[in-house]
Symmetry: C2
Subunit: 434 residues, 2 copies
Amino acid sequence: MRAVDLIVKKRDGLELTSDEIAFFIRGFTSGEIPDYQAAAWAMAVVLRGMTPAETYALTLALADSGDRLDLTRVVPIAVDKHSTGGVGDKTTLVVEPIVAACGVPVGKMSGRGLGFSGGTLDKMESIPGFRVELTTQQFLDQLRSVGLVLSGQTAELAPADGKLYALRDVTGTVPSIPLIASSVMSKKIAAGAQAIVLDVKVGVGAFMPTLAEASRLARLMVDIGRRANRRVVALLSDMNQPLGCAVGNALEVREALDTLHGGGPADFREHCLHVAAHMLLISGRATTLRGARSLATDALDSGAAMTKFRALVVAQGGDPAAVDQPDLLPKAPVVRTMKAPKAGYLAQADAKIIGMTAVALGAGRARKGDPIDPAVGVVVHAKVGDRLAAGTALCSVHASDSQKAQAAIEQLSPAFRIVARAVPRLPLFYCTLR
Amino acid sequence: MRAVDLIVKKRDGLELTSDEIAFFIRGFTSGEIPDYQAAAWAMAVVLRGMTPAETYALTLALADSGDRLDLTRVVPIAVDKHSTGGVGDKTTLVVEPIVAACGVPVGKMSGRGLGFSGGTLDKMESIPGFRVELTTQQFLDQLRSVGLVLSGQTAELAPADGKLYALRDVTGTVPSIPLIASSVMSKKIAAGAQAIVLDVKVGVGAFMPTLAEASRLARLMVDIGRRANRRVVALLSDMNQPLGCAVGNALEVREALDTLHGGGPADFREHCLHVAAHMLLISGRATTLRGARSLATDALDSGAAMTKFRALVVAQGGDPAAVDQPDLLPKAPVVRTMKAPKAGYLAQADAKIIGMTAVALGAGRARKGDPIDPAVGVVVHAKVGDRLAAGTALCSVHASDSQKAQAAIEQLSPAFRIVARAVPRLPLFYCTLR
């Protein structure tokens, strides 16, 4: 088998066999197949596509490029959730404690933020002392003892995926639904997940701006799961406006704590309960979505989820005082409010612009490895469809100095649009794919 | 400007500006743009295509990546010819002496054979002592004194083209008409050609199997010439069966000498006179094709072309005895004849199979740099359309041993097809594009 022949086959729109894909990914991982051949192949995939069978073969080849975690001796069923990334998406911080509080242990490996999309690890690190780097043994021990872990990767999971993504990033080959689907699913499979809830974001603040593209991605990931004998459900959720109000690391932790304490924005609470219910259903903890939802609501309202979250923080070296008194979390020195210039209905709160503004304030990274400021960000006070009086607060900017605050206010101004006629609210979820 | 943005632009089917293409090729030549980005870009070009304006910009960028030869102080007009490559194509050996004998100096830089297609340098080297490596100064001096040169590249012409071709060869990005056209024309422009006759081969033994593809390639190269203020004419000629009879280096030189002596296969003689006439016409030596043809025929029939060829051989260190007595050229120890198994009309003499058989005998290279055997090859004794009696010689195999001869006979057997009903002859030329 020669790499160039496989490139030619894909270039000509033919289907590669699973052996051919495994050969290509093995060669790419070991370096025998050079980057330039992988780049030509990736471009052919972007422009010619891949069948579901090819996408599944690629997923397995990526998953098998490194270690595979086996959680079956630690938990009855390894359940996981994955969000395709959005603005203000601190769902993990609330959903995982709810599920764990319902008796389903959750060991989750998360990533860092990149671009306008935030990352769970960065958010958790705004809790003083919280450690995200665990060994595999520490991960397994904590999963067994606490029933909840939120860490970075403990082992070298799917290294070919990381290598391929880095190459795609510089060769214009990121936007391919089969490549995105296999990237997501290979990491989940390598991390040992048996049941997976996919939160596929749709809208201007997501990687998939249209429902058509997001559905294709979701359907393909569900198909991969089915072929791999995993239980998978995909929820398509809105990402035109930020989820909840807070965008920025400590700001989002505070909002998650509010929610765990029974408060928090209504849309965010609803989103978390819906995702948690699906995790409970898919893991077999409940037999109906309604029953699962009721378990989740109880865990949240009773404070059991809060207790679980506190235990998680303590287990990973975080200061529980910051959980009990969120005021102890990092706070930005300058807070500036932006007001509605006129009365009317909010027609747009552009998640992408808001996310980029948060990054510019220092909440995210322009490049991998950049430092971040946990305190800064944006808090949006209105939702699309809200009726606003002139002068109502639209959002608050939390900045490290007044110059950055001013720049953020200017950057944010095109994000909001107020119109005279009533505007319908945006849905939280569009549909569920199984 | 960032390389990745130009890849994305091409991936999305947009037109690159000439500045963008120049930036990309400059970066690729210097190594600032890595191979993997060039490979992704080349695949996007293969699948998305390029406009004539883009193709022209690429041609200039490749031509400007190294030295440019200026022949204007040596010859009144620098005329050149280029064949896209075929089997048994020893045209240069006869055409260039004819044109030079008509008073139009020809300095030609040729290449070596690769794949089933032969190369002029390999053929000339079967003349004992003939040197193909000249310095630029030697090239210019001989062009001035003899009026005829046949050498390898004297300077670093279009190095980006060589680098890009090597990358395309291993990334499945060879078959792109814009990339092929710019590759050919960049070298011609860098070598200083002002008037160019393109011999574009069509058929199973050519890179372009169909007339439609060959016409597209020819039209694009003519368009590039027009934009670059070069006089260009493209002749589309048949390459379903070999040109002439001989395939193999010394065998082809012997056939060229026969032709220069007034003999040779009729199709090959006609092909050479037609190409030579176009060179004389395009260089202004004649005002009509008929007049140019008459000059060419005179030069061939009078022996003036033969005299020119002998002077060329002497000037480049070759043994003139081999020219005067072609029997002194290398000869294979084993000659085996393959006969027609039945009576009928020859319907096929597959140029590709015949070319590949010659390579297997040692006349060509499987890889760049492989040694070749000048003596071996195949001589085809019949042309498509010929009426054959059973037992007529179809072809002779010239081999280094009887085992190779036997293998060649077996390899050749599917090349020939004899049918009961009369078959029309194949045309020599299909059309002329200006």
